[in-house]
Point group: C2
Chain length 142, copies 2
C-alpha cells in the first residue's frame, strides 16, 4: 500500500509517517518504480504500535525502547515494567500539578465577579500584587 493508505489506516498524517521513517522508528519501505513508498502489513503493525504508545502519552524515545524489547523476547521484562511505572508516575505528577493550577486559577477568577474596568479588575490587581512580590489570591497558602 502507499503512504496515504497506511496513514489513513493508522489514523495519522502522511507527514507523520515520513517523520517516523526519518527518525528511524519505522523501517524504510520498498519503492515503486515511480519512487512512491510501498508498505506491507509489518509496517502497518509497527506504525500502529507507535501510535498506540503515543496515545498513552509516551515519548518516541520510550516507544523506541519498547520496539527494541520485542527483539529480545527471552529477556526479563523489567525494562518494560519500569517504563510503564515511569509513565504512570509522570501522569500522576501532571494530574496533581494541574489540580493545583486549577484551584489557583479559580481563586483568581473569583477576584473579578462583575464586569469592571481593567484598572479595578481583581484579576489584574492580583497579577500586579504578585509582580510586586506580595501575596496573591491564587498563590496564597491554605
Amino acid at each position: 500500500m502507499r503512504i496515504g493508505e497506511l496513514a489513513k489506516r493508522a489514523g495519522c498524517d502522511v507527514e507523520t509517517v515520513r517523520y517516523y521513517e526519518r527518525e528511524g522508528l519505522l523501517a524504510k519501505p520498498e519503492r515503486e518504480p515511480s519512487g512512491y513508498r510501498c508498505y506491507g502489513a509489518l509496517h502497518q503493525e509497527t506504525l500502529q504500535f507507535i501510535r498506540h504508545g503515543r496515545s498513552l502519552g509516551m515519548k518516541l524515545a520510550e516507544i523506541r525502547l519498547l520496539l527494541d524489547f520485542r527483539h529480545h523476547p527471552e529477556e526479563d521484562c523489567a525494562g518494560v515494567d519500569a517504563l510503564l511505572d515511569v509513565q504512570i508516575a509522570r501522569v500522576e505528577e501532571q494530574i496533581s500539578a494541574m489540580g493545583t493550577l486549577k484551584e489557583q486559577l479559580i481563586a483568581l477568577r473569583g477576584e473579578c465577579e462583575q464586569r469592571q474596568t481593567n484598572r479595578t479588575c481583581g484579576i489584574l490587581r492580583a497579577f500586579n500584587q504578585a509582580a510586586q512580590g506580595q501575596a496573591c489570591p491564587c498563590h496564597r497558602e491554605g
Copy 2:
C-alpha cells in the same frame, strides 16, 4: 541591577530574561559602558508579572495580552476575564485527559504483575494486540 541579579530575584534563568527581551515582552534595558544590561524596579515587576502568568500555565501570547490590558486601565476587563476562562477550561480538559490516560496505563500495568520475559509480558502483548487492531486492556471500553 544586572541580569544575573534580576533573574535570581524572579527565580528564572538569565537566558530566559534575554529571551523575553528578544520576544518583546520585557523592555530593552539601559546598558552600562561595558555593554552589560542594567535593570530597574519596573523591569523586575514586569518580569515577575510574566513569570506569574507562566506559573499559572499561560502562554506568552496571553501574558502579552495581559500586559497590554494594563495600558488600557479604563477599558472593560472582559478580555481579562475571558482569558482566565479559557485557561481554566484548558486545564480542566487536560486534567480529564490525564485521568483517562492514567486509568489506561494502570490497566496496562496490571497485565504484567510478576516478572516475566519480554515474550510473555502482558504489557508487550497488549501493545502487540493494539498494533494488530485488536482490543487491548488499556483501550477497552467500560
